[in-house]
């Protein structure tokens, strides 16, 4: 599609100045997020609240939402980080669009989805109903699809968007299945009620596992992690948001929300631990070697969310508190790192570590801000991140030796890759041209870095937020109370060990490079992405083959409807007992009139099959129609007969009108070719299958006019609907909604005719 460019080329001259149009949509989105943030803060301060409205009462569905501790944490993250990311994006998107030579109007393809993303995250955080949770969960998937695919002219971008959508949305179906399973057992979709009613047992285990699958795919955990590094094709604000406060966070949020349910099954918790361990290793090791800036951070996200999943797998109160605090500290640090990477790319035009370096002198503010965020991620003291690892280590020790070792390895990997990331960017010999990035691309990074430092000095408010959230996910009061302790407690020793190991990773870079490279190659060759691609390819092939079979000519199109219908009916005959279902009645009364009419139908049908001229076919068809109309009249269905007569007349007219437009020469030339003969045999088989099945259905139906059918119920209720004519009452009242849909189809059909005949002009 080609869009007219509405900004003059002159705006290219000033790369960061006022030449670019102000992004009102972006600032509106930012203002919305700020308003949401303030509302959530006020709500938290006021002690929360709940709302519950009927949605679909017959299904026991309610639109119920509550602002509890967990909801506050995630809603504050989504709106707070959202506000900063949106402010950043309002400048970034301008430059991005200008860089790509796209009109500013394309902002309309971006900001509505971003805003909806934030709204869906808040909705997801507050949802108290499994089906509502599923709806918001899928809305985030749809938003991510459009945002990742924003640069839709590029093939890999579209593939990445589709991959993100398919992996997360297909897995999300597991959540719906779990919801139905739980509803079948416990009779409610409401999460608080489910948590109080669900007993440990196979149903709870299976439902918990299914919920975990949906959540883990969303949080990009191994083996469903491969969509996340691809999703880097999105513009930077999207990545920053997706990785810190939305989408990926949504998965962990679901785990936290349903944690009391999941923890009723030890095998689900063990599963979480295994997945987490794999994710930590895969994400951490691949991040050590990744070259593209955003890819380092993407693998880091996989690893970091592995921490959180591991904590939920450990499952005790301390672990819940640590996980809640972790989401917060990670979100603040990771969004800053992403935005810093975006700013670097905007300033230099490069997005690979191997082509960047020595930016520290030239971009000092960014270097410091990015350094603080990296330090927070690597859990250095005086940052909020230090406490996240302290809590993490405490919980890991409680989880056993294995998790404790894993925790140290994970922290060491984080230290290694994030150290390499920061040093690669800002230290070393200066390389390449650097423009000063606009202030709007640096300010949010600085603000988030400052927040990390504030959290490192005054952790109390953040810890309180985490306590409130963990009290929900652990279903018991949890106190998150991190502090600096200058002694040789295990947590401190583990932290020192992790830093030491991480520094070692940086020193023996060549060795880690080999390990990371071989893992990456193995992943490429045997990884789950291959399975995804093979599955997609296979589905595409099957679909294409079916499509080709179906649309080869008009006859195959008809056979594609009739043959499956006939086969299904045949299966139904085999599966149901048919004794006594088929009776031969006696011929009496009006039957003697119906029989010759049926004979006429048979003759006309044979004529249609044998005829070589179109006009004969049309006229014979109308004979069939009129004969059937007469039969309706005879068996006492005057309404149907009337409609049949008038519609048949109309159809004949329309057919004749259409015939007049066909070329005079028919496709008679191919009549005797062998291909044609084979097709005729195939048509005969298709027609026989469909005809026999339909014959069996009608005969069976007429043999067994059962007592109380829906028809007799209709007749009984007709007077109540102020009517005398059952058919009319059914059409306009009992089944009014069906009729509404059908007449809409009628209108759509005529618009289709207009599109085919006169390029859509209706008149």
């Amino acid at each position: 599609m080609v869009f007219p460019r509405d900004d003059p080329p002159a705006s290219r001259e000033d790369h960061r100045g006022s030449g670019l149009p102000i992004d009102y949509q972006g600032w509106l989105a930012c203002a919305t997020a700020v308003a949401g943030f303030i509302l959530c803060l006020v709500g938290w301060w006021a002690g929360g609240g709940a709302v519950s409205l009927p949605w679909a009462p017959t299904l026991n569905l309610r639109l119920s939402a509550a602002l509890d501790g967990l909801a506050v944490l995630y809603a504050l993250l989504a709106t707070g980080i959202g506000a900063l990311v949106f402010a950043y994006g309002s400048r970034y998107l301008n430059m991005h669009l200008e860089h790509e030579g796209r009109p500013a109007a394309e902002r309309w393809r971006f900001w509505p989805w971003m805003t909806l993303f934030a709204v869906a995250m808040v909705g997801l955080a507050t949802a108290q109903d499994l089906v509502l949770l599923f709806v918001f969960f899928d809305i985030t998937a749809v938003c991510s699809y459009f945002l990742i695919g924003f640069d839709r002219a590029k093939l890999e971008t579209r593939a990445a968007a589709l991959m993100a959508l398919l992996v997360t949305a297909v897995s999300a179906v597991a959540m719906l299945v779990a919801a139905v399973l739980l509803y079948a057992s416990y009779g409610t979709f409401s999460i608080p009620e489910l948590l109080s009613r669900a007993e440990p047992g196979p149903v709870t285990t299976i439902a918990g596992a299914l919920l975990a699958v949906a959540a883990l795919a969303k949080s990009a955990q191994v083996p469903l992690h491969f969509w996340l590094p691809r999703a880097m094709a999105a513009p930077t604000p999207v990545s920053a948001y997706l990785h810190s406060a939305a989408m990926v966070a949504a998965g962990v949020l679901v785990i936290a929300r349903l944690h009391p349910l999941l923890s009723r099954s030890q095998s689900v918790l063990d599963g979480l631990l295994i997945v987490a361990a794999a994710s930590i290793v895969v994400g951490g090791v691949l991040a050590l070697r990744a070259d593209v800036l955003k890819q380092v951070l993407a693998y880091s996200t996989i690893e970091q969310y592995g921490y959180m999943v591991m904590l939920y797998g450990i499952g005790n109160a301390a672990a819940n508190g640590a996980a809640a605090f972790y989401v917060l500290a990670h979100g603040v640090a990771k969004s800053a790192l992403f935005m810093a990477a975006g700013a670097v790319t905007m300033a230099t035009g490069e997005d690979r570590l191997s082509r960047l370096g020595g930016l520290g002198r030239r971009l000092p503010v960014l270097a410091v801000a990015c350094g603080v965020s990296a330090a927070s991620l690597a859990a250095l003291p005086l940052t909020m991140g230090f406490f996240k690892d302290e809590l993490f280590f405490t919980a890991a020790i409680q989880g056993g030796t294995l998790t404790a070792v894993e925790a140290v390895v994970a922290a060491a990997l984080t230290f290694g890759y994030i150290g390499r990331f920061w040093m690669g960017l800002f230290l070393g010999p200066p390389r390449g041209e650097v423009n000063r990035p606009p202030a709007m691309l640096v300010a949010p990074v600085v603000l988030l870095a400052a927040l990390s430092v504030v959290g490192g000095l005054f952790v109390e408010p953040f810890a309180r937020l985490a306590s409130d959230a963990a009290s929900v996910s652990a279903a018991q009061p949890v106190l998150v109370d991190p502090a600096y302790h200058l002694d040789a407690r295990p947590e401190n020793l583990m932290a020192v060990a992790a830093w030491g190991l991480g520094a070692l990773l940086l020193v023996v870079f060549r060795a880690t490079d080999v390990v990371s490279h071989s893992l990456a190659v193995a992943g490429e060759r045997l990884g789950p992405r291959r399975a995804y691609e093979a599955a997609l390819e296979g589905l595409w092939r099957v679909s294409a083959a079916l499509h080709n079979l179906e649309v080869r000519d008009l006859r195959t199109s008809i056979a594609a409807v009739l043959v499956p219908a006939g086969v299904l009916a045949g299966i139904a005959f085999v599966a149901t007992p048919t004794v006594g279902s088929y009776e031969l009645g006696t011929v009496a009364g009006t039957d003697w009139l119906i029989l010759p009419l049926l004979g006429l139908v048979v003759i006309a049908t044979l004529t249609i099959a044998r005829s070589r001229t179109r006009l004969t076919v049309v006229l014979a068809l109308s004979v069939v129609g009129f004969a059937l109309a007469a039969i309706y009249a005879l068996i006492g269905a005057p309404d149907v007969a009337l409609i049949a007569v008038v519609v048949e007349t109309m159809l004949t007219l329309v057919f004749l009108g259409a015939l007049a437009r066909l070329p005079a020469e028919g496709p008679d030339s191919e009549r005797s070719s062998p291909h044609r003969l084979r097709n005729r045999r195939r048509d005969l088989i298709a027609g026989t299958v469909a005809g026999l099945a339909m014959f069996g259905i009608v005969w069976g139906f007429l043999s067994q006019p059962s007592g109380t059918t829906i028809a007799s119920e209709h007749i009984r209720l007709t007077p109540a609907a102020h009517g005398g004519d059952v058919v009319t009452v059914i059409v306009t009242d009992f089944r009014g909604l069906d009729t509404l849909v059908e007449i809409t189809v009628l209108l759509a059909a005529v618009i289709g005719v207009a599109a085919l005949m006169r390029r859509g002009r209706l008149w």
Partner: protein, 151 residues
């Protein structure tokens, strides 16, 4: 529709023209009586559309549309019919009822004029009627229309 080599006779033209009035009358009857006896808005719509189609046959596209300029409102009629049907089906939501609940409710008093009962299914039926007339007229127009006739 293409004018055949042999023009329709004067008799065909006169009958086609004369049929228009009665067809509308029959349609009105079908709608009004539909709830008590045979017929409904759909059938009524097809009957009127048939009368229009016969005029296309008798007078040709240009002739029929010249004689009945109101025909060009057919697309609008179809859309209006759909909107009317939707409105009659869904306004009950505003009253707190499920969609397609008819008013007055079962058992309540209905104002009758002859056999015509004034209640929402009648409005729905009129909507179907308008839609069917509009859609079929547009269909006939599409099939009959030839670019060289109008340019």
């Amino acid at each position: 529709m293409r004018r055949p080599e042999s023009e329709p006779t004067a008799l065909v033209r006169v009958v086609a023209w004369l049929l228009l009035g009665p067809s509308v009358l029959v349609a009105a009857g079908l709608i009004v009586k539909g709830y008590a006896e045979v017929g409904d808005g759909f059938g009524a719509g097809v009957i009127v559309a048939l009368a229009i189609a016969v005029n296309y046959v008798a007078f040709g596209t240009a002739g029929a549309e010249g004689a009945l300029p109101a025909l060009r409102y057919a697309p609008a009629t179809a859309i209006a019919g759909l909107l009317l049907a939707i409105a009659s089906g869904f306004f009950s939501i505003a009253l707190g009822d499920p969609p397609v609940t008819h008013q007055p409710r079962p058992g309540e008093h209905v104002i009758k004029i002859g056999t015509a009962e004034l209640f929402t299914p009648l409005v729905f039926d009129v909507g179907i009627f308008l839609l069917v007339v509009g859609v079929l007229t547009v269909l006939v127009h599409q099939l009959a229309h030839r670019e060289e006739d109008f340019g």
